[in-house]
């Protein structure tokens, strides 16, 4: 490493923010180490159906980015991996320990043919599908996954569990004839054309030395179980915003048909509850989640596209459509798609006679309103990833009381952290939509590029302006 310090960047989190930052840096000629906790990149944007306000297919606009970053010569991708340790290097950079979880698949051998996934006989609930669809025990997140290599969920794998039970003596390791018993199933390994299954794979630890860091760890949704008054986590037809995205997505479990999770019927009345946990310092989170007003308008609109004779009602407190074309978008939902907006909060949702009763209010007509709904979508609060404060702490970056990352100066230096060489981007700082995340991620990349280009100049001792034409 040169005296000037490393010019490799670490980007933590490969959602649209992390991908954008990584591409901005790598396309400027600097290596990037991109670390993602999930088996493949894309973050929440990979779960979305269509995006506001243009109704572009999310997958379609993002895939070129995931493919580019996935195949970029200067991007080293560590998926299914987490940051384990960080220390400052002698040159002022960071030496980062990255733990890659055992996938039980040798990705160097795997061609991504998908046979294992197809033939695996066991299904479990998929976190990616937000509980409305299953996945196999050996799985990729989606057919467009980058990298398109599966991981095996050991906890639910019949083979691994029986193998480990035998090793631990919990079940006999010989059969009735006294022959050594072999663990059950193993269909994936038998059918894999390249022999890529590796039952003994362990977590691996790699170290990377980097000169700058961008934290883009993204967001999660407040668990619906935190909203028992809405039947969150108990009533099957009360789903959150991301689950409804999966119901709308062409690549989702219902192939884009809006069907109730409980019985597969087409819901004729869908009620959206905004501020489900947001703006609620007493029981939820005190802040506004910023993106819900727009995605609810979008989802209501898409629902009306799919079910033209359906009714969509939205409970809200304020419609916060502050963004380019956003006001017009919400107006369109109301005026052209006849989405009914009711100003008031919902107090309670319960099930009766196979339908959902939503007890709300319209403070404009001064009426308590009881709605019979077939499906309820809770626009649950945006919260930081649970692990965000801990990961940030490793880099000396603080998190606020809500767990969001804190900029050195929230107003005048929004992408700079208090720690030297560490920059911030995206919803990990606070709720924000895709364009704001993307612009901010490029902003964070600018800070890294500024640093690296100066370092490169010191190394070559030739000014970057050399060769420039005079004015």
């Amino acid at each position: 490493m040169s005296a000037a310090g490393s010019t490799t960047a670490l980007v933590v989190g490969a959602g649209i923010g992390g991908i954008t930052a990584a591409l901005d840096i790598a396309n400027s000629g600097f290596p990037v180490v991109l670390v993602e906790r999930e088996p493949s990149i894309g973050g929440h944007m990979a779960q979305l159906s269509e995006t506001f306000p243009t109704l572009d297919c999310s997958q379609c606009i993002m895939t070129p980015r995931t493919v580019e970053v996935g195949h970029h010569d200067l991007v080293r991708l560590h998926t299914y991996s987490e940051i384990e340790s960080v220390r400052r290097s002698d040159s002022g950079g960071f030496v980062v320990g990255i733990r890659r979880r055992a996938a039980y698949v040798d990705w160097d051998k795997c061609t991504g043919c998908g046979v294992c996934q197809e033939k695996c006989p066991f299904k479990v609930e998929s976190a990616f599908e937000r509980g409305i669809g299953p996945r196999k025990v050996i799985y990729t997140l989606s057919p467009q996954a980058v990298p398109n290599k599966p991981v095996l969920d050991a906890e639910h794998c019949r083979y691994l569990q029986s193998k480990w039970d035998m090793q631990a003596g919990r079940i006999p390791s010989v059969d009735k004839q006294g022959q050594p018993a072999s663990p059950k199933c193993g269909a994936c390994a038998k059918l894999c054309p390249t022999g890529a299954l590796n039952w003994d794979q362990q977590d691996t630890l790699v170290e990377e030395e980097v000169g700058a860091v961008i934290l883009a760890t993204g967001y999660d949704l407040l668990p619906a179980s935190r909203l028992p008054e809405y039947g969150g986590g108990e009533l099957k037809d009360v789903v959150d915003g991301l689950a409804f995205e999966r119901l709308l997505a062409a690549s989702g479990p219902t192939a884009g048909k809006v069907l109730r999770p409980s019985d597969g019927a087409v819901p004729k009345h869908v009620v959206f509850v905004q501020c489900s946990g947001s703006r609620d310092p007493e029981r939820g989170v005190p802040y506004c989640s910023k993106i819900c007003c727009l995605y609810v308008a979008k989802q209501a609109m898409l629902y009306k596209h799919r079910v033209p004779d359906g009714e969509a009602s939205v409970f809200y407190i304020d419609v916060r459509a502050g963004g380019k074309g956003y006001e017009e978008f919400v107006t369109r939902a109301q005026e052209e798609h006849h989405v009914r907006y009711l100003r008031g909060k919902v107090s309670r949702i319960y099930s009766q006679d196979g339908r959902l009763i939503v007890k709300g209010v319209d403070t404009l007509s001064h009426r308590a309103v009881e709605v019979q709904a077939d499906l309820v979508v809770l626009a649950t609060a945006i919260v930081p990833r649970v692990s965000t404060p801990a990961v940030a702490g490793l880099f000396g970056v603080a998190a606020d009381g809500n767990g969001f990352l804190v900029s050195g100066d929230e107003e005048m230096a929004p992408v700079e952290s208090g720690a030297e060489g560490v920059f911030l981007a995206g919803a990990a700082l606070g709720p924000k939509d895709i364009p704001e995340t993307v612009a901010q991620a490029s902003g964070a990349a600018a800070k890294v590029l500024s640093l690296f280009l100066r370092r490169r100049m010191l190394e070559t001792t030739a000014p970057a302006g050399e060769g420039m034409r005079a004015a």
Partner: protein
């Protein structure tokens, strides 16, 4: 239906009295209406629970004449779900206190149905009198 907002009334005696008795900040309410959404008694009320707070926020004492405080059973559903931690049953009680101090008893022991007096649990009678008698 038109009022001229009176800056003195915004912090006038009526508002101060409600805030003192209830120990609640009326301006904490952002009129989300969740209290009204969950209140089991809105069918009988002349003003929704959130509408009890709204005129008071404007410094108006029109709510003193409302039937709603007298229909509040203090079931605490509104308080349990209010996102801003406004204890509306206390505001309802403050309005009852103010009305009682200004006027007549709403519940008088002598007027209670004798059949009720004989059969109902004591606490129903005592509780009702404590809310509605001067």
């Amino acid at each position: 239906m038109r009022v001229v907002l009176d800056p003195l009334a915004l912090h006038g005696a009526f508002i101060r009295e409600i805030e003192a008795i209830s120990e609640q900040n009326l301006l904490a309410c952002n009129q989300c209406g969740r209290c009204s959404a969950g209140c089991p008694l809105v069918e009988e009320m002349d003003l929704l629970p959130n509408q009890i707070i709204r005129p008071a926020q404007l410094g108006l004492d029109t709510v003193v004449d409302s039937t709603s405080p007298w229909l509040c059973a203090a079931c605490l559903m509104c308080e349990a779900r209010c996102p801003k931690g406004v204890d509306l049953p206390r505001i309802m009680d403050a309005l009852r206190q103010i009305a009682l101090r200004r006027g007549e008893s709403r519940v008088v022991a002598g007027d209670v149905d004798p059949a009720l007096l004989a059969g109902a649990p004591q606490m129903a009678i005592v509780g009702a009198l404590r809310r509605g008698e001067k």
